[in-house]
Symmetry: C2
Subunit: 354 residues, 2 copies
Amino acid sequence: MTRPTVNDIAREAGVSLATVDRVLNARPGVRAKTISAVNDAITRLGYVRDLAAANLARSRSYRMIALLPDGDSQFVQTLAEALTEAAALAAATRLRLDLLRYPPEDMHVLSNLLAGFQPEEVAGVALMAPETPVIRDAVRALRQRGIPLVALGSDLPNTGRDHFVGIDSHAAGRTAGVLMGRFCRGLSGRVLVIADSMLLRDSIERRRGFDEVLLADFPALDVMPTLETHGSADQLRRAVGDCLAATPDVVGLYLLGSGHRALAAFLRDRGLLGRFVVIGHELTPHTRQALMAGHLDAVIAQNPGHLARSALRVLRAKADRIPIDEGQEQLRIEVVIRENLPAEPREDQQGDAA
Amino acid sequence: MTRPTVNDIAREAGVSLATVDRVLNARPGVRAKTISAVNDAITRLGYVRDLAAANLARSRSYRMIALLPDGDSQFVQTLAEALTEAAALAAATRLRLDLLRYPPEDMHVLSNLLAGFQPEEVAGVALMAPETPVIRDAVRALRQRGIPLVALGSDLPNTGRDHFVGIDSHAAGRTAGVLMGRFCRGLSGRVLVIADSMLLRDSIERRRGFDEVLLADFPALDVMPTLETHGSADQLRRAVGDCLAATPDVVGLYLLGSGHRALAAFLRDRGLLGRFVVIGHELTPHTRQALMAGHLDAVIAQNPGHLARSALRVLRAKADRIPIDEGQEQLRIEVVIRENLPAEPREDQQGDAA
DNA sequence: TAAGAAATGAGGAACGTACCTCAAAAATTG
DNA sequence: CAATTTTTGAGGTACGTTCCTCATTTCTTA
């Protein structure tokens, strides 16, 4: 009736507890025949190791590290908060997360940080970084030392990272493209694409997906070359202003990255708010506000809370060398419009010990 | 350096371990002054109770029950699988889930089932059922006995259920409405609404949300009275056929419930596939296929995996009387189009004991 | 201030697993 | 077959908490 324990296995298999323990924990000195006898008993009884007890006995505690670029990106900021929150909850199951920020302008700082992590101290690393050669090497070396690493938000496919926690940027761009195309049904004209910088893998892939869809399925829409703002509101005003002046038949705006506040301010000044179909990425206080006000028609987003929790779950699984639940870790490309905007996250996080 | 334990609290507060235990577990016989002394020590040390150890000591095991209506609804089927899968994972943390189905035509069977659950045996119940008077009474009685209950998929607001795991149907209907309106930009005409039955709370609320949006924001579209199919493909063919014959200017179809396969077959027969904007609910093998084929333009969905895991987490939290993480339990109203369709779930679930 | 009640302390057993040591048994080798 | 190696058994301690008992101290109140 109750759950079988290691003692039950021993009895069932006709061996001692010590032998069961050797088999369960893959310790040496057991004959193949005995091993299979124990495993048979395990399957016969339907034994499932009590992870709580196991971790308690091991007095295992996991120190994880999350590395995010420094700067004032709203998305990174939100993700940092989500990580902190997820870590607070995971603290009850002996996981500690240190959240570090690195200067995005110098990858050597990050590389040195990574090089300093030792397997005795660090049970896993979640990293959000572009895949430069320096980083690639540092990640490879880290994994060589036996420290699991998951790429967070932006993939590092050529580093052998253990897992990627995030959404497929290309598919996200395609999704944005379809929405742009469909929301512009019956219209013909040009679509402006605005990015911080086209050096980031994410931006490139989104743009590629977006273009694909518009080219194939919405011939009435014409996608213009990307306007790069480098995070500057002035540059955005200038670039978009010039472009609108030169091409009067703009019907849609696609923001690959940030700049929603600057764009809204600019459009408001010109009396153009609501004139275009506007689609952007990531749900931040700014995009949320723009959605509510109706200046922004849709946002393609990944849920920072899910991102954070998934990263911690995967890292723990990797540290324990147990398989991950693919279904649970598959993050959705969310389409957010005003009508399915989730309620504002509340601020009062009361971690109560009682 | 290491995590503080109950012994550390005792030392810090200058009391005995027994007293700390009394405070932590809200046992009687401690002066208010002592309680606050202990709590101060707890906050000073940043103590977080080790849940693994706590549950081990309690040798608490949770037997939860999930109750779903019987029948061949694809969504319920998928949800049942998700629950089984989530339960398999939760087994490692001493949770057992019994999944029961009840005949949807007789609520007294369900009511009797609920009446039979005793708090000594059942740590929590997840229930998907319409809110009839019989059920309302049974749920109230259950909670009176101290058994936590969460409403699954469809809310039971007047029963005092501990929590609702699911999405807001009204908002889901509004979301469907906006997509219908925007995907029909430039068109004017009628929109057909097809439902299994309008007796279900969900259908009513979706319909209400849908109507609201179309009425307020898309005056060019005219919503027709609901066609009820009662789950029968024939009835669907007849009703939709009659309606299309009578009103030639139909531009959109909205499926409140199931019937995607029957609708696709009907439209194919008539050579009408792809002629209308079609929007439906829930991601099932049928809607997935229809999305891929392009017969269905968007699906408003809730993620069955999230639903299942959220239900188990909430029930466990309720059983432990600890607060739930609102952020994590807030389920999103997903908008699924072909471009953000998640990869087909794989079948090979390998639960490995080693 | 003495009797009674309330609060606190001391100690131990238990939960299921990990990990250790030492001795005994079994298998393998020369 | 004896010597050696390998495998197995027996038993203990530890992890951090819960929950119990019984003794002792401290506070109330008549």
